[in-house]
């Protein structure tokens, strides 16, 4: 088995030519910093009671940013609860996702014109949806590519198999991104499958699978650009496995000390995708302390502002649940809504 694709080694040294100009690289870095800042603040806010259950993603920024950045405006993404950063990159306001973690129903209401599906809670269920959207796009002659995220645990589920199999048969314009962070809550990747890699599963479905160093945003970006290009030109799906790590708990309700050694976390933190890209920018592109500080300052300010925005959104109208259950509601729902209004 070949090694995962890598463009930067853990010290940030390029392993080959890197084709993108400085602004593009800085853009990727800027999104990763925003993600890290958001994640750190969100954890703190959860402890303060300002957010409900939260699923942190520190350690997975390269996997998310490198994939979402490879898309065009017309493309669609199907995220899980751990890829809200991808949704933000595609145009969902950060405050929407804060509302989501605050339990507000507006949190999954993606603005019109933004092609981001509501975050999926059930594992792997969104994969067939993405394939259906991709099939529909191809049938309509749109040049849309659909990108769907899921974790290593999802590859054990039936919907993963059924969806990839379907996409292979119809050569749907879809990119499957497996964010392999090593752990499905307490179950290690080795217990999900006896396969050597997750990427190799693509071979069984008749399309290409690529394993990428998920702590190297440039490798993720390059692999996804190629996958998106294949999808857009009618060459069908690709499975991109990004090998990364969840630095924190599964959610704020989880205690990873029960199942994984701190030593392992430290080993992965040494591979931090932000540190790696910064080292490269510094050595090759003259990245300065001032520029670094400016990006962080901008990120902290964006994140703080988004919480302020979220906290000023009024509590939802309680009839929301009735109003969005059906397009043409049954009489029983209308009667229950009337009774609900009368009781209040």
């Amino acid at each position: 088995m070949s090694r995962p694709l890598q463009l930067l080694d853990p010290q940030g040294h390029p392993t080959g030519p890197i084709p993108w100009p400085r602004p593009r690289l800085v853009e990727l870095y800027r999104w990763m910093i925003l993600g890290r800042a958001f994640d750190e603040r969100a954890l703190a806010w959860q402890r303060q009671g300002r957010l409900g259950t939260y699923a942190p993603f520190s350690g997975q920024e390269a996997a998310v940013v490198g994939t979402a950045a490879a898309l065009s405006p017309e493309d669609w993404i199907f995220p899980t609860y751990r890829e809200v950063l991808a949704g933000v990159m595609r145009g969902v306001p950060l405050s929407r996702y804060l509302l989501l973690f605050r339990g507000h129903p507006l949190g999954n209401h993606v603005p019109e014109g933004v092609n981001v599906f509501p975050v999926q809670i059930s594992i792997a269920s969104q994969i067939p949806h993405a394939v259906g959207a991709a099939w529909a796009a191809a049938r309509r002659g749109d040049r849309t590519v659909v990108l769907v995220y899921f974790g290593d645990g999802a590859t054990s589920k039936g919907d993963f198999h059924e969806a990839l199999n379907f996409a292979g048969v119809f050569r749907c314009p879809v990119v499957f991104v497996c964010v392999n962070n090593g752990w499905a809550i307490s179950i290690p990747r080795s217990r999900q499958t006896a396969s050597e890699t997750l990427a190799q599963k693509a071979a069984a479905y008749g399309f290409l699978g690529v394993q990428v160093d998920g702590m190297d945003v440039l490798a993720v970006y390059q692999a996804t650009l190629q996958a998106v290009e294949r999808a857009r030109t009618g060459d069908g799906p690709t499975l991109v496995e990004t090998v990364c790590y969840r630095f924190g708990p599964h959610t704020t309700a989880d205690d990873p000390a029960r199942y994984r050694p701190e030593q392992e976390v430290l080993q992965w933190k040494a591979l931090d995708p932000l540190i790696r890209l910064r080292a490269y920018l510094t050595s090759q592109w003259g990245w300065t302390e001032q520029e670094e500080a400016a990006l962080w300052k901008e990120a902290w300010s964006t994140v703080s502002r988004s919480l302020e925005e979220a906290e000023t959104v009024p509590s939802p109208d309680p009839t929301w649940m009735f109003q969005h259950a059906y397009g043409a509601p049954p009489g029983s729902v209308l009667a229950q809504l009337r009774a609900f209004r009368e009781e209040r």
Partner: protein
């Protein structure tokens, strides 16, 4: 007007829906080349091509899950599950995904799709080919559940379901597929969801039924007519939305209700109807509500199914019970 079986009427509904709207696509196992195991999709592949009639891999969860994505992208997919007993494999996609996409996204994304499935017993089919799963689906908010009982209604109800804004499970009573022919109007028409039909008017006992239990009710009505007993057989047609007004109106008139269904009794849809009548028409009743149903056991081997399913004789015993109470 031409005489049509239910299979032919459903086929015509699909064809006309596809003519009316380019967004309508069909997907499922054996729906293309084979025309569906019951031939409901016969000829549609030739007519509309593989871009609109899709033979899928053998994967129920993906068929419904892919249909959710198609619908969210703007198509109107009509998915076929070969037999309702195989719906269990797709229940996650139906209950946890299709049913709540609108609610989850606050209306930003919707899943206007139809899942068609033959259901019901009495045709000596292998295991898992005869289950009546309607109660599971009726207890899944976000879904609609439609069950035709005649060819003409099957056509109009399917057209209405395809163009409904919500996900609809369309359960086709297998024993009625080719049981009768009747006049079916040629032009496209929609039978609106949420309206029951009085299949046979009468003054003495209301029989609430759907699918293959409707002709059973009509047979009972014929048999009892000789005794001067008039049954009012209500064909609910759509379980969700439920036309409670028609049912309650009938019960207030007859003061007696028998519900007949093929599914097991406990927590079946008949329980919902009995509860509805208890809540809103109790003092009109002259007798306790009787449910004539299958027992609370898994659908048995074909050699036993006649003992499992409600029969005309059992239905008449139930009717006598409400008359004699």
């Amino acid at each position: 007007m031409r005489s049509r079986t239910m299979v032919e009427a459903l086929n015509e509904a699909l064809l006309q829906a596809m003519e009316q709207d380019e967004a309508v696509v069909i997907l499922g196992e054996d729906v293309g080349l084979a025309g569906g195991v019951f031939r409901v999709t016969d000829g549609l592949l030739d007519r509309f091509g593989p871009g609109r009639v899709v033979d899928t891999p053998l994967a129920e969860s993906a068929i419904v899950g892919v249909a959710v994505g198609m619908a969210a992208y703007g198509l109107r997919p009509v998915a076929e599950i070969q037999f309702a007993g195989f719906l269990y494999a797709a229940l996650d996609q139906m209950a946890a995904q299709a049913a709540r996409l609108r609610a989850r996204s606050g209306g930003r994304f919707t899943a206007p799709l139809v899942v068609r499935a033959p259901y019901g017993g009495g045709v000596r089919a292998p295991e898992l080919h005869s289950d009546s799963v309607e109660a599971l689906l009726c207890h899944t908010p976000g879904l609609k559940v439609v069950v035709p009982s005649t060819p003409a209604e099957a056509k109009g109800l399917l057209l209405a379901s395809i163009f409904d804004p919500d996900p609809v499970v369309f359960l086709e009573p297998m024993p009625l597929y080719r049981a009768t022919r009747e006049e079916v109007p040629e032009e496209p028409y929609r039978v609106p969801l949420g309206h029951a039909r009085v299949a046979c008017p009468g003054r003495h006992v209301t029989v609430a039924a759907w699918g293959a239990m409707v002709p059973l009710g009509l047979r009972a009505a014929e048999e009892l007519a000789g005794e001067g007993v008039e049954l009012e057989v209500i064909d609910l047609r759509t379980l969700i939305p439920l036309d409670s007004d028609t049912l309650l109106g009938s019960v207030r008139k007859t003061t007696r209700l028998v519900v007949v269904h093929e599914a097991p009794g406990t927590a079946g849809f008949g329980a919902e109807l009995a509860a509805l009548v208890a809540e809103r028409a109790l003092y009109h009743l002259s007798a306790p509500v009787v449910r004539v149903t299958a027992p609370d056991v898994p659908y048995p081997a074909p050699a036993l199914e006649d003992y499992y399913l409600p029969s005309t004789a059992r239905l008449i015993r139930g009717i006598r019970a409400v008359l004699e109470a």
